[in-house]
């Protein structure tokens, strides 16, 4: 069981941005994360829409975090969408199926846990380990 590539890459992108004091270009994010520039551009669309990152044009333009207090849950909702572990909504047995309860427990556990993990805290671990990107 894994998060989608989109979800994992979005987390990496946000953690890197949290280590940057100024706007960070796609090229620099790409160097720090190893994610291609083209893919980063795509990842940014839902992240901007969810108002987790802001983009500025111009010489010192680039991306930065839109606010403080962003959690892993915020990022995953923006990038993965609903993240249901099983497609129960389309299932005719929804409501009758006992295994449905397992998937909802799993989903609930992941959501509640991800709500308590802050991007800035992950970034501070990165800085402590001496491998901080943009500072």
């Amino acid at each position: 069981m894994k998060l989608s590539t989109k979800g994992r890459y979005s987390l990496q992108t946000l953690v890197h941005l949290a280590t940057c004091k100024e706007n960070c270009s796609i090229r620099k994010i790409s160097e720090a994360t190893g994610i291609s520039s083209g893919y980063l551009e795509q990842l940014m669309i839902p992240l901007r829409r969810a108002q987790l990152v802001v983009a500025e044009r111009g010489v010192n333009g680039g991306y930065r975090l839109a606010r403080s207090g962003i959690t892993c849950h915020d990022v995953l909702v923006a990038s993965e969408g609903d993240f249901h572990p099983a497609p129960c909504k389309e299932c005719e047995k929804n409501g009758l199926c006992k295994t449905h309860q397992i998937w909802s427990l799993l989903q609930h556990t992941v959501i509640e846990f991800a709500k308590d993990v802050y991007i800035e805290d992950l970034a501070s671990h990165l800085v402590e380990s001496g491998t901080g990107g943009g500072i």
């Binding site: 990496q12 890197h16 993965e80 006992k98 309860q101 397992i102 427990l105 556990t109 846990f113």
Partner: protein
């Protein structure tokens, strides 16, 4: 985050066997009808569950599948770990990871794995087969 078809069908198969296995082995053809699942696919999942030590296969007429242990002794966590290959959120290839990936693994995925293990620790197949032990709208 997605549970595979194998994981979903496997659990439905086990629940069906608990609910219908009172009078001996359960034939996959009857499970396929009741659950509206492909019998061919159920055969593959049943084979995996047998090799994994959760089911016994009974050959011959009146044959089918039985639980190897009592439902109270079968942990959902172990079943999922088998069916999904691994229930962990961590990437297998930790050697090639970047510093950012390492931090996210240590401080998010690894701890999320522990939390899931904690929540699922004592949940058995028998619990799941009881009606409505847990409901969240998803």
């Amino acid at each position: 985050m997605k549970i595979s078809t194998r994981g979903r069908y496997g659990l439905r198969l086990l629940v069906d066997i608990v609910e219908n296995g009172g009078n001996g082995p359960v034939a996959l053809s009857t499970v396929a009808k009741r659950q509206n699942l492909s019998e061919k696919y159920l055969q593959q999942v049943a084979l995996l569950l047998t090799r994994g030590g959760f089911l016994n296969s009974v050959k011959g007429s009146g044959g089918g599948y039985l639980l190897k242990d009592r439902a109270e002794q079968i942990l959902i966590y172990n079943v999922l770990d088998l069916l999904e290959g691994s229930i962990s959120f961590q990437e297998e290839d930790a050697e090639k990871e970047s510093p950012i990936e390492r931090i996210i693994r240590l401080h998010f995925y690894a701890q999320l794995d522990q939390e899931i293990a904690r929540v699922f620790e004592s949940l058995t197949l028998a619990d799941v087969c009881k009606a409505d032990w847990f409901t969240y709208e998803i």
